[in-house]
């Protein structure tokens, strides 16, 4: 086994002053020297766009890449509910410490204290920055910013812009990015996909890309590479991710030596529109904010197919309010999701039968509409109600919504230290693509916070510290490492086209997704995971013998794009399942059925698993090496997570 240094580089000193001390003491790059550094940013969502814009403002030369036709289309755009910040504008007892504590507890004590505290600290700056950019947050009549509450918190600290907060924050970051493009400090490469990372003498020095319009393979060199390429939830085929979301950038960095941490920490979001049938290409989230006013219930009796308005109050089970009286419908996502699965497994689900089971629970606004009026509800959630109606054909103002959990977010990602740098020098990883802040479960409205924290307020400091303290010899795209990486990228494309079999890339993706959802989804057990680990290599072999990629590689070819992404999912799936198999405890989104309390809650094993599991690539089909970063909790006491 190779020796890998998993030093998290957490600054010394008390938790509350670590970040301010770091900023006071870290090395700087003087303004005249910044323009001598080139930085590659892959991804243009909240993390990527905010990083590219801010680094451009500081004077670095930035090249930013996205596979979409415009940076504004990155999937951050679809986030609905809000962004957390410890502003305490509501005077309801919020503080940096409380946001820090809620996030650590929400993550089931599997995140690093120092990173999470820094996140809570900078959260307040994010809101100020976004307001200054012209983000139209919701406001009170007096002109101040409005807040609402979200799952896993007892304070109202969530800032929002109707049900389109991600869109408005991304447009803010996109506008800052545009300003830097206008000024010439950022060069934007749209419809361009990263296909490999180039590492020279242990340092990340560039990437290989494919122009998705012309098919041209290109080399790009830089002094540092930042990946902000999002999560891998689409490995399940059906998820709330955009159809283009993929693991390729982070997975190919993993193949170049970056460690992948906690891949089994995947989040299943409780409030999505249930699967309607075979045709489905994605699942649609209904914002968690709906749980502020909607009440979740199922009939008390199994197989009760009466229409919801005819089921009397005393025959309804408001199961979250019953089981978790103090958080009720605002229980954290993992807990609410598992509770929904349980009542449906008991035969108490509602809606149409799909594959023999009714998988849906009601999210009912009847009480809220009677209490607040239809207009208030429309103001708060109008766009979500409209979206629900378009998809299902049902009107949630009169019929309760039907919801069911779906894959939504991945807490796992590339391992990074306090500087957001991976174990490969110069390779930094931001936002959902890294593993750092959410532990085993992310709280609602925290993804937007982390993406913007990393991009606006963390990487500008830590990258300067890297540049100032690291000798970076001159490396151009003519270096042999670029040639070798390009050769491998071309070879894979040729191999994909040469198979010329009978099945589309999509059909393999669908089969892999079903396998993972059944065996590595909301509930996991040894037998299921072992079954998946046996089946994945078989499916991968079949892919390489029988996939059919039509069209040319020198052209706009969506089949080829998809095939490359599915090929990576088919390798990465093994790492995901292996991680789930070896983590013999339940925590957050990772629920091993063998490890639960008598009430069916997650049973952690702090003795053996209070660590991040970091996987090192050893070749396709080979068991990766496991490295552990143990988590030290110096400021909070590990406790069983209770929301009762």
């Amino acid at each position: 086994m190779s020796t890998i240094n998993l030093d998290a580089k957490i600054p010394p000193g008390p938790l509350a002053t670590k970040w301010s001390n770091y900023r006071s003491q870290s090395k700087l790059v003087n303004p005249a020297n910044k323009r001598k550094f080139n930085v590659i940013v892959v991804g243009s969502g909240l993390a990527g766009a905010s990083a590219a814009a801010t680094l451009g403002e500081l004077g670095y030369n930035v090249d930013c890449f996205c596979f979409q036709d415009s940076p504004r289309r990155a999937h951050s755009i679809a986030a609905q509910g809000g962004i957390n910040a410890a502003k305490n504008y509501q005077n309801d007892g919020d503080s940096v410490y409380r946001l820090f504590y809620d996030t650590i507890k929400g993550g089931d004590f599997r995140a690093r204290e120092a990173n999470v505290h820094r996140l809570a600290e900078v959260s307040t700056l994010i809101i100020d920055q976004c307001v200054a950019q012209g983000v139209p947050f919701a406001r009170e009549y007096g002109g101040t910013l409005a807040n609402r509450s979200f799952g896993g918190a007892q304070v109202s600290r969530t800032f929002y812009a109707r049900g389109q907060t991600g869109q408005q924050l991304l447009l803010g970051a996109y506008s800052a990015l545009n300003r830097q493009i206008d000024s010439g400090k950022v060069t934007m490469h749209t419809r361009t996909e990263m296909l490999d990372l180039v590492v020279v003498d242990g340092q990340a020095r560039g990437i290989i890309t494919r122009d998705l319009v012309t098919g041209k393979i290109e080399r790009h060199a830089a002094h540092a590479v930042i990946l902000a390429t999002g999560g891998y939830g689409n490995i399940f085929y059906l998820s709330t991710n955009a159809v283009g979301c993929n693991v390729t950038a982070t997975y190919r960095a993993y193949k170049r030596g970056a460690l992948f941490a906690n891949p089994c920490f995947t989040q299943i979001h409780p409030t999505c529109i249930p699967v309607a049938g075979e045709h489905q290409s994605k699942l649609t989230l209904m914002s968690e904010s709906l749980r502020n006013d909607g009440r979740i219930w199922v009939p008390k009796k199994a197989n009760d197919t009466r229409s919801p308005d005819t089921i009397p109050e005393d025959e309804r089970d408001y199961y979250l309010e019953r089981m978790y009286p103090s958080y009720g419908n605002l229980s954290p996502r993992d807990i609410a999701s598992r509770a929904a699965k349980r009542v449906c497994d008991e035969g108490r689900g509602v809606g149409p039968e799909v594959a023999g089971v009714r998988r849906g629970v009601y999210l009912d606004f009847g009480d809220a509409i009677r209490r607040l009026g239809k207009d208030t509800i429309r103001q708060r959630y109008g766009n979500l109600f409209d979206m629900y109606k378009k998809i299902t054909g049902e009107d949630p103002y009169t019929v309760p919504m039907r919801i069911y959990p779906a894959v939504h977010y991945t807490m796992g990602g590339l391992w990074v230290d306090y500087n957001l740098m991976s174990n490969i020098a110069g390779l930094h990883v931001l936002g959902e693509a890294n593993f750092s802040d959410h532990g085993a479960n992310r709280l609602g409205a925290s993804a937007l916070m982390q993406g913007l924290a990393d991009g606006y307020f963390v990487i500008p400091y830590t990258l300067a510290s890297y540049f100032a303290g690291t000798p970076l010899p001159k490396v151009g795209t003519d270096h042999a490492a670029f040639g070798e990486a390009e050769r491998q990228v071309r070879e894979q494309i040729i191999r994909l086209q040469a198979v010329n079999g009978n099945r589309s890339p999509d059909s393999f993706h669908r089969e892999l997704g079903t396998l993972l959802w059944d065996n590595c989804g909301m509930g996991r057990n040894r037998a299921g995971l072992e079954k998946a680990l046996k089946r994945i290599p078989e499916l991968r072999d079949e892919f390489w013998k029988n996939v059919r990629v039509v069209g040319s590689a020198d052209d706009f070819n969506q089949q080829l794009e998809k095939a490359g992404r599915v090929a990576d999912f088919l390798e990465f799936a093994e790492v995901l399942c292996l991680d789930a198999l070896t983590r013999e405890e339940s925590c957050g989104g990772h629920f091993r059925e063998e490890y639960q309390t008598e009430e069916g809650e997650a049973l952690r094993n702090d003795q053996d698993f209070c660590h991040a599991s970091c996987w090192e690539y050893t070749g396709v089909g080979n068991r990766p090496n496991l490295h552990k970063e143990s988590l030290a909790f110096e400021n909070i006491k590990l406790a069983q997570r209770s929301y009762k």
């Binding site: 801010t54 403002e57 036709d69 415009s70 504004r72 289309r73 679809a78 504008y89 700056l125 100020d128 920055q129 976004c130 307001v131 200054a132 950019q133 012209g134 139209p136 947050f137 406001r139 009170e140 002109g143 812009a161 109707r162 869109q167 408005q168 447009l171 996109y174 506008s175 545009n178 300003r179 493009i181 206008d182 319009v213 955009a242 159809v243 283009g244 309607a276 049938g277 075979e278 045709h279 489905q280 290409s281 994605k282 989230l285 409209d386 979206m387 378009k390 998809i391 054909g393 307020f457 500008p460 009978n502 589309s504 999509d506 059919r548 039509v550 052209d555 706009f556 969506q558 089949q559």
Partner: protein, 261 residues
């Protein structure tokens, strides 16, 4: 449902395109329009034919990636709805559906239904921002903003940049898009310092991209999936007119343009 599709196929920017007929068989009324196309594409791939290229990403009506003209209407017949949110229950069994790309000089076809809308990005790069560096912001509550104004700014900011407004306009005008972007900043205190310069630069950028002028038919408003109101265009015209009369920036921008070109 069984349907007949007539789909625009075009190999590239310069290739000649044509409408090709395909059957769409056993389509679920619950599937979205794009899922129906996915299904047709799976059949084409099975036959070894190139699938129909079309853009999509979030498939929940917010990213603005999907872009196609369905039976002559950008995003199809349902008001306030993107193609990805259009569901097949809107159509009848046996219908023939014609699908074409968004057409405009400033949106060249890349392949089939995929067009290049980077002109929209370039318009925004010409001033669609508030010039504030990261870290230079005051407290978020320091400047109260009346709820009514914040709501108008939001209504404008809801634009998803899909380009349907351009595709619907006989002049290929981008003025609904442009005016929505300007209105967001126009209605917020943060947007005031650069208001004139932003208006002038963005309008000039749109002209340079080859988008036409508005002649008040409001086809744009009718097809906008986010129901952006056309009165933002009037607001923009007022600002542009004021700039023309009063502003030195207008002269500067014009002078710059003359010197460059």
């Amino acid at each position: 449902m069984n349907l007949t599709l007539r789909v625009w196929r075009q190999s590239g920017k310069s290739g000649a395109g044509k409408l090709v007929t395909y059957p769409a068989k056993d389509v679920s009324a619950d599937s979205s329009f794009l899922e129906m196309l996915d299904q047709v594409n799976q059949e084409l791939v099975a036959k070894g034919e190139e699938p129909i290229a079309f853009d999509s990403d979030c498939r929940e009506g917010i990213c603005g990636t999907c872009s196609m003209v369905i039976n002559g209407i950008p995003h199809g017949p349902q008001r306030g709805t993107t193609a990805c949110q259009l569901h097949m229950r809107v159509f009848k069994d046996g219908d023939t559906i014609t699908i074409e790309p968004f057409r405009a000089t400033a949106f060249p076809v890349i392949k089939d239904l995929v067009v290049d809308r980077s002109a929209f990005d370039r318009i925004q790069q010409a001033g669609g921002y508030v010039s504030v560096n990261t870290g230079a912001a005051q407290d978020g509550n320091a400047v109260p903003i009346p709820k009514a104004e914040a709501d108008v700014a939001f209504d404008a900011a809801a634009c998803i940049g899909c380009g349907a407004c351009v595709a619907a306009c006989k002049n290929s005008s981008a003025m609904l898009f442009l005016s929505a972007k300007l209105a967001q900043f126009r209605h917020l205190p943060q947007g005031q310092p650069e208001r004139v310069r932003r208006t002038v630069r963005m309008v000039e950028a749109a002209d340079a991209e080859g988008f036409g002028n508005c002649t008040n038919f409001y086809e744009c408003e009718a097809v906008c999936p986010k129901n952006i109101p056309a009165h933002f265009i009037a607001e923009m015209n007022v600002d542009y007119f004021r700039a023309a009369l009063l502003s030195r920036e207008f002269d500067d921008v014009n002078k710059g343009a003359e010197e460059e070109g």
